[in-house]
Symmetry: C2
Amino acid sequence: MSMLRIAVDVMGGDIGVKATIPAIVTLAKRYPEIQFQLYGESAVESQLPQKPSLDNINYISTPANSVSMSDDPIYALRHKRNSSMAQAIVAVSEGKADGCISAGNTGALVAMGLHFLKTYKGIDRPALCQAMPTAKGHSYMLDLGANVDCSPKQLLQFAYLGTALCKVLDGQSKPVLRLLNIGGEAFKGPSLVQDTASILAQTQSLNYQGFIEGNEIYQGVADVIVCDGFAGNIALKASEGVARLVTNSFKQVFEENIYTRLMALLSKPALRRWQLKMNPDRYNGAYLLGLQGTVVKSHGGANQHQFGYALEMLIQQLQRQHIRSMEQSLEAILKQ
Amino acid sequence: MSMLRIAVDVMGGDIGVKATIPAIVTLAKRYPEIQFQLYGESAVESQLPQKPSLDNINYISTPANSVSMSDDPIYALRHKRNSSMAQAIVAVSEGKADGCISAGNTGALVAMGLHFLKTYKGIDRPALCQAMPTAKGHSYMLDLGANVDCSPKQLLQFAYLGTALCKVLDGQSKPVLRLLNIGGEAFKGPSLVQDTASILAQTQSLNYQGFIEGNEIYQGVADVIVCDGFAGNIALKASEGVARLVTNSFKQVFEENIYTRLMALLSKPALRRWQLKMNPDRYNGAYLLGLQGTVVKSHGGANQHQFGYALEMLIQQLQRQHIRSMEQSLEAILKQ
């Protein structure tokens, strides 16, 4: 395998370079065999540590015209094609990088991904897809926020994409597909969900098994969960919020007095295992699935550690060369 | 204050009488001054414990025609008006009970509530509203699943209802209102959210402060959070699911070996405080807000303990006579 090359939009996200640069430096040390192409404004380059230790980091200066979190996606696509985000995607489309990552404006990333990379045949728009932790392993859920007003046809396409990804990454032959809804009964849910359910049930190439409720996302009863980007994003972020509330309240209780602090200290190894497993930071990083190229979106509010998890997810999947088989997997499903 | 009277649909919910009856018996002992009117099929009455200890429980037999979880709401309203659910609501509408509770079919409860109790003036449909725990206290969120296809006008009405409830229950003079969305920027979100935001911003009687994201639900940045019933239900249930995943994984880690078990034992008082605070069971029970009468909906999958929490919530609010002021509070807002 030739050297892996990863393009990073260092300007993206609420925290920006203060999160992305330290994360990249850490991973560049951990993965000396990978080339990191950093796209960012020239003023930022000075924030990188001294050169010698970082042979595998290349900095490509872009104009001071970065995409902001508040840019309208269409505006960004028209006026910011020389931005760090656009250039990181262009690097993938031109074959200069094997994949790219950004914590920037989701809408702009989708617009630029569509423009520079195009979608797979049979897919109109990409969807954000993430492996959600479950009691039994994980479930791929999409869309998590790339498309807010969806049609049944789009949800069908998301079902194809999620099924193809699950086959490629987990080697599942018939991934169990479910549709996110507010009840298990057939008559429940809004018209979008009702109409999509009829289509999915008639689609032979998919292993559609009915509805899934919000609480069941984490029970491991599906391999692939499909929803519109609005509901998906709300589910994802509400989950993150409650996980933080629960773990923070745990910390508070164990900081109450000297006895509880001692208990926390003595339980440290077990608590660390628990925190590692349940740390919401670990679940940062979603594929912008459906594009002819690998694009990972980090949470916009990601800090250094969270951005590092998303970057490492991208690295590991590229190393396994898994994502490259995505197109064939999708084609095989669509042919059925 | 005269004796409080609470009507309970004992047939509702996935578990049904095995959850409702034991919960009612426990609370009937704890609150001997409250009259519990149990509506249920005659065969169920035999499951009650011996009479003497339960002077404050009255059993009212209903025909074997209970609303099932899979009944279409319109069908239930037409053909099951003599059911336990319908009769519990009728008891409120006829002034025989001060409030009622059901763990049954949400759609049927909404249809029957609308039919027998009617909505407040200016409100078209009721919404499920619950106090969500936050880092600073709680936020009232609605709708949590009573209305799946909503209009901006309905969301405006939910905003009125939530604001009125927060004024009544918490005495807040200008509750901070936010709209659930997938980003903080003005251009983000589906058309429903965009259109609702414009209306809310123009409504002087509401203290609208913009969007709130899923993870912020638990940060305490709003007193009232408005959303459509689909998104709200998904947020609520996803949160419940992740809270269970996190706490269950905690138990697993501390059952790993004799040392971790000892630590768990020694930390029991602190762990109990944490569990009490974060126990998802505690957050069962939502108001069906907007009806001219107090109706509480318990989670359909509620077990005995969870149903008990919802019932106790109803009792405590009725005892404080808070909910009776709801109509005046709403009228005052609508007059502005």
